[in-house]
Amino acid sequence: MSTLDAVIGALATLRANPLRSLLTMLGIIIGVAAVMAVVAVASGARALVVGKIGNLGSNLLVISSGTITAGGLKLTTGSAMTLSEEDARALRRDIAAVEYVVPIVRGVVRLVHDDRNWSTALVGVGSDYLAAEDWSLASGRGFSASEMQSAAKVALLGQTAARRLFGDLDPVGAVVRIERVPFTVIGLLSSKGQIKGGDDQDDIIVTPLVTAKTRVLGVSVAAARAVGNIVVKVRDDRDVAAAAQRVHTVLRRQHRLGPQADDDFVVKNLAELVEVRQSAYRALTLLLGALAAVSLVVGGIGVMNIMLVSVTERTREIGIRVAVGARRRDILRQVLVESVTLALAGGVVGLLLGAATSAAIAHFAGWPTVISPDGMVLAVGCSAAVGLLFGLYPAARAAALDPIEALRYA
């Protein structure tokens, strides 16, 4: 008996009892649909978050001032301004793989325009900041070289800060007071969105580095060359780890740290951060998928139950088949093919239902869902495996029937 004959026979049997076949499949259908929908929603969430983090730039290294130890207490990152513009220059000079090196300082400032005021993040930046961050302008222009050097009172506004101060009006050309100092807005940044934890990357005002230090933050003369962070953009994604290593070496040399001394700076690799988040969501997806898979097992038990009933009911049929020349393995195969066909058909219907459910979730709940081909293959594969596994026992029972008893069965 060929497998094709077995499949055709199985389909005929399943068609002979459509309602029962459908009810049996229902367990598998719900199981597969649940797996599909849950995995699609979880993957959607993952893609969303990873995408947002990815906006930060996946080949960026962010170097922060390190900790100092004061009276036995280790203070937080950045508690000492250990980085300087000279460090930035050394990195640019000594590491071939870097594309941009941008020193920046940060502060929190109060903005005033007409009768509106808003508290926001100030970032004073060196040249190439927008290029390094892959950040474009919605309107206006960036800083010119002379503005960078002359501590010109010009600023770029983020979308959120602009909306707070200007509503829907274009802020380009307007004057904004930063801590009472008037600045001309020369550009409006495009939107970058939120990152997890609620930080709004668009709630920002950007000025040249020197301007921020001298006119707003009022850095003391002693720390005149100090900066808060250095952003390094590596030219090629694949060089990020190596570049991070080089940054370490160069900065330790710049800071004249002995072999035993701790780093007085921290290098953060954003690609690593993305990786960590991604694996966390992968674990979440797996967990939810496993929970949904339990329902698939329940569906499998349903298949086994019905196959056992079906084998008992068709005892006589099995006797007839044996009498006309079926071998034990033909009977075994017939029952297995039936249960796999049943489960597989349920799997395919469940797949469609799951896809429809995820689409509905995406549409009505506004929650992004991603249906991956992997998930589809997995769902169908799992249902076939369930059919095989839970068909084994009924099939073995059928094959073990005594043909004479079977033929006598009423």
Partner: protein
């Protein structure tokens, strides 16, 4: 008898039942030559059906030897016995035993499915067999849509599917009225004339008179074995239909 189709020597079959052994067939030695038409008779419980199951390789003897067409079946595995059933034996049952959920054609094809005949040949041969029993117009019907006589004719067509040398019929007319029974017996006689060996179990003397040899069972033993005196010739409507 070296050239016998069926040869049993001291064939026994006993069952364990209720703490004791029940012997259904006791020490049966019989030879049936190719081309014979044998009726096995006896009251119920005489062991004739058990003997039939042994001949049909559906059951294994507790003791004794059974040779079919020169094959010593003692040491055959279950799968090898299935192959013997498939290639050499056709069964016809009292209850017809057709599969209700598939068509007449698919029922007749069934032995060929297990015998490994290619799909295309199966269709053609099954259609020819259905025509031979005069039911071509019923080929797409389900067995349940057929009368008892028609079902039994389809069962005979199925039994012939793999061109067997031996046809085993267990009370084939038990569910039929006498006119229909005569039609079925006519088909058996025609097949026997074409060279197929037939062994038929019945408890009706009227049916046994269509055969050419009668073997009587009682309490698991053969108690009488003689040729049928002037066998009846059944007039067959179906033969004319088929012609």
């Amino acid at each position: 008898m070296a050239d016998a189709l069926i040869e049993t020597v001291g064939l026994c079959k006993s069952y364990r039942a209720g703490g004791g052994e029940v012997a259904a067939v006791r020490d049966v030695s019989i030879a049936i030559a190719p081309g014979e038409f044998v009726a096995i008779m006896g009251p119920s419980g005489s062991g004739k059906s058990t003997f039939m199951n042994l001949l049909g390789c559906l059951d294994r003897p507790s003791a004794g030897r059974y040779r079919l067409d020169g094959l010593d079946l003692q040491r055959f595995s279950a799968d090898e016995l299935a192959a013997v059933r498939s290639r050499k034996i056709g069964f016809v049952f009292q209850m017809f035993n057709l599969l209700p959920q598939v068509s007449v054609l698919a029922n007749v094809e069934l032995p060929m499915v297990y015998g490994g005949t290619p799909r295309h040949d199966r269709h053609a041969r099954a259609a020819a067999l259905v025509e031979r029993v005069g039911l071509s117009h019923r080929i797409r019907h389900r067995p349940t849509q057929l009368s008892g006589g028609e079902q039994q004719r389809i069962a005979i067509a199925r039994a012939l599917a793999n061109d067997p040398i031996l046809l085993l019929a267990d009370e084939p007319t038990g569910m039929l009225d006498s006119a229909t029974a005569a039609e079925v017996m006519a088909i058996f006689q025609q097949l026997n004339r074409q060279g197929i060996t037939i062994v038929l179990v019945t408890h009706e003397p009227d049916v046994a008179r269509f055969a050419r040899r009668a073997v009587f069972f009682r309490d698991g033993r053969v108690v009488d074995d003689h040729p049928v005196d002037r066998p009846l010739q059944a007039l067959a409507r179906s033969q004319e239909d088929a012609a």
